[in-house]
């Protein structure tokens, strides 16, 4: 599949170097190379393909086959800037060609209109740096549609009364319903709510070179062996490679963006697989390294002109991190659901997307889904009812009874942006390459915790209405582990309170662009990848327009 790939020399000044090959980087690579530009994509992880995507839970999950490895890239955590950070595994992301889109759940909700204009609508919220986006849902709508059609999203238009307007239906029908979905749908309707088929970035119908989902059951956390999961790897990157103008260069760990004498980005400095330092020259740099690694790279690239981090005149690089709030309620039913078959989610609801703060006493909103995203070992070690026997005959009994009869109701919700919630460089800890480690600072806004508890209560109502035999939920706690990495280089018109402008161009460096979860201004209600990909399609249009009118330095 790499036959058509050009091999650029590091001394070639390509048009764009893109750092990161995930949800955003893959799409930008496809679009920019498709528009005639010469592109090098530097990906820190390996180039794996379908044949590598095994169902071995130990290899994939415990040994981090697809994800950042805590021994190589250790991290620290603290709740507030006043605390001393302690070494602790603080985040997980896909570290391979295709990035996190390779192993995600593939829930593909569009954001709603409210997510872009929430600050205007609700006013200031104490303790939060809530802000409107400089673009609206209407600006992004054509790009949401583009994601659905080009990347491949299954779903049913018009099934949710809360859906924002759309210009086109989904390109393919929803995936089949699972038993968890049927239980969810019936119970939700009993309660007067509006369940609907989950939009998923997983194929319900085959596409050229890709199979429809075969329901293997090793989905969340695993790469798809038949290309049904609409990852950047299975979609955009393959198209980018076919242009003959895009080189995907794996095992390339970028740790510095260099500026030339005029203050323009000159290229990216990276460690190759042998840990030799290489420099790729480029006319412009696009960073799509995710909401943790993008700000880290800018902070690592501090120089005389930008002593606090590249493109960080606002001081906002790494700040306003949002992880999305969320709670899980697990339920056991009388009859086998066999929910281990298939993708994770088949039914969701958005009745609580916009809650009335005056009524509920907090700001925010969310959605519920019915899912089973566990694989056998993980289930046996972590998903039996609290207090269950942990070994012996009684353990075996509860395990063999529950595995086919369990599902989860997942509440996904807002995280309000809080300025001190951030990714930054740890002062002491270094990674295996000698670079400062990522430090997570996070303390949920009190409203986020109230929202989680509120959604948990709705999940419990739903499980009751569904006739669950048993249900439980862990107590609501402040988060200290990051999966969704949002808001850390936010978009805005004001250079004092944002890092990039609506074209994804940094306010400070004219030929430096950022596009990934870090660009988001608000957190939506829990499913960010669809929006990250829509932004990437839009960013590619904006960047192409700038380049074509000669507005990029050459």
């Amino acid at each position: 599949m790499t036959l058509d790939q050009p091999k650029y020399k590091t001394t070639d000044e390509v048009d764009f170097v893109i750092i990161g090959s995930g949800a955003a980087g893959g799409i930008l690579a496809k679009e920019l190379s498709g528009n005639g530009f010469r592109v090098v994509v530097l990906e820190q992880g390996p180039y794996l393909t379908e044949k590598d995507f095994v169902h071995d839970e130990i290899k994939v999950l415990n040994q981090d086959l697809l994800t950042n490895h805590p021994d190589l890239q250790p991290t620290t955590f603290r709740k507030t800037p006043q605390d001393k950070a302690k070494p602790q595994r603080a985040l997980v992301y896909g570290r391979l060609v295709g990035g996190t889109s390779t192993h995600f759940t593939a829930n593909f909700w569009r954001f709603h209109e409210i997510d872009f204009i929430e600050r205007s609508k609700v006013g200031p919220i104490a303790g939060a740096t809530l802000s409107d986006w400089p673009i609206t849902y209407g600006d992004l709508e054509p790009y949401y549609t583009k994601v659905e059609w080009e990347i491949g999203v299954s779903g049913l238009a018009g099934a949710s009364p809360f859906d924002p307007p759309r210009s086109k239906p989904y390109p393919m029908p929803p995936l089949p319903v699972k038993s968890s979905g049927v239980i969810f749908e019936r119970a939700a309707r009993k309660l007067g709510w509006h369940p609907f088929p989950a939009p998923m970035a997983i194929l319900s119908e085959p596409r050229p070179g890709r199979s429809a989902c075969i329901n293997c059951g090793f989905c969340l956390g695993f790469g798809c062996e038949v290309g049904a999961k609409s990852s950047s790897l299975a979609t955009a990157i393959r198209i980018a490679e076919k242009t003959g103008r895009c080189e995907i260069r794996p095992n390339s760990y970028v740790h510095r963006i260099e500026l030339d004498a005029k203050g323009r980005a000159a290229g990216a400095v990276y460690f190759d697989a042998e840990r030799n330092v290489q420099r790729q020259r480029a006319k412009a740099v696009v960073v799509c390294a995710n909401g943790a690694e993008t700000p880290r790279l800018l902070l690592l690239s501090a120089n005389k002109r930008f002593p606090d981090g590249l493109a960080n005149s606002s001081g906002y690089v790494g700040k306003n991190l949002m992880l999305n709030s969320g709670g899980v309620t697990t339920a056991v039913f009388d009859e086998p659901l066999n929910d281990y078959k298939g993708f994770a989610v088949s039914r969701i609801l958005h009745d609580f997307y916009e809650l009335d703060a005056d009524k509920v006493g907090f700001h925010g909103g969310g959605g519920l889904d019915a899912r089973f995203d566990m694989t056998p070992i993980g289930f046996a070690l972590g998903n039996l009812p609290p207090g269950s026997p942990r070994w012996g005959k009684a353990f075996k009994e509860v395990l063999s009874h529950n595995f086919t009869r369990t599902c989860e109701i997942f509440g996904h919700g807002t995280s309000l942006p809080v300025e001190s919630n951030s990714f930054s460089l740890d002062a002491d800890l270094k990674d295996a390459w000698g670079l400062p480690a990522l430090r997570l600072t996070y303390k949920d806004h009190p409203d986020d915790l109230k929202l989680t508890a509120w959604l948990n209560a709705r999940s419990a109502e739903l499980c009751d209405a569904a006739g669950a035999k048993k249900m439980w939920a862990p107590p609501v706690q402040e988060q200290q582990f990051a999966v969704h990495l949002l808001g850390t280089c936010r978009m805005g018109n004001d250079p004092k309170t944002s890092v990039i402008n609506p074209d994804h161009r940094t306010h400070d460096v004219k030929n430096l662009f950022l596009c990934d979860g870090s660009s988001l201004v608000t957190s939506g209600r829990g499913q960010p990848t669809m929006t990250i990909e829509a932004l990437a399609f839009r960013a590619a249009d904006r960047i192409t327009a700038l380049a074509k009118r000669g507005d990029l330095p050459t």
């Binding site: 839970e57 199979s211 942990r390 070994w391």
Partner: protein, 222 residues
């Protein structure tokens, strides 16, 4: 119902739905995976890489109390001891010490509680359970969502417990010698295939198909 849907079966019958390019790109890998799995199953009796036969008998006896053989197969039938033996020279090398130190402690505990018992494997099932009960410090609680990401089990018993569960439930097609013949999956009700067709379970088998939500003009907001 899905017996004919092996992954290889899938390849041959899905020619209509999947492009020839996909088939040609993936056929060799899928084929070799299938052959490999076949070989692992039908091959010569597994040999030990880490344990002595005596040690294997002791640890094997522990695994057989963690997931006992009842009216259905347990850790013994799943060949968990061979999984652990290979684990300790591959991905779980760091746990060698835990086993090396834990085994004498296990035997000491056995003699302490039952002076007539020379070896753990020589005790009755009830005695074995009592010995393990006293070793089980109830360390990490069940129910933590992210516990599967961490294998950092500390005590000897907890290490063997986690390894036993892994060896019982690992994908039998993996190279880890666990879940022999897929018996672990059979016990928990997971069918052996890696592809399935709906209906999947009891509640979706009579699903009439998607019907719109009943009309209610008001968007309900709480």
């Amino acid at each position: 119902m899905n017996k004919d849907l092996s992954r290889r079966g899938f390849l041959s019958q899905s020619l209509t739905g999947v492009s020839a390019a996909w088939i040609s790109a993936h056929w060799p890998a899928m084929l070799s995976a299938a052959v490999h799995a076949q070989k692992a199953r039908s091959g010569a009796p597994a040999k030990l890489d880490f344990f002595s036969p005596e040690q294997a008998a002791e640890i094997g006896a522990v695994t057989a109390r963690i997931i006992p053989t009842t009216d259905s197969p347990g850790a013994h039938e799943a060949g968990v001891i061979f999984f652990i033996d290979r684990a300790l020279v591959t991905f779980a090398k760091d746990d060698q010490k835990t086993y090396a130190q834990g085994l004498p402690e296990l035997q000491a505990k056995a003699r302490e509680l039952f002076p007539s018992v020379a070896k753990f494997s020589g005790a009755t099932a009830e005695q074995q359970d009592q010995i393990l009960q006293s070793l089980d410090e109830q360390s990490p609680a069940a129910g933590s969502r992210r516990s599967r990401r961490s294998t950092a089990a500390q005590s000897f018993f907890e290490t063997v417990r986690v390894h036993t569960i892994m060896g019982f439930l690992i994908d039998p097609d993996s190279d880890k010698r666990g879940n022999h013949d897929g018996v672990g999956w059979r016990v928990i009700g997971r069918e052996p295939e890696h592809m399935f067709r709906p209906p999947f379970g009891y509640y979706d088998k009579d699903y009439p198909g998607w019907q719109s939500n009943p009309p209610d003009s008001e968007k309900s907001k709480s």
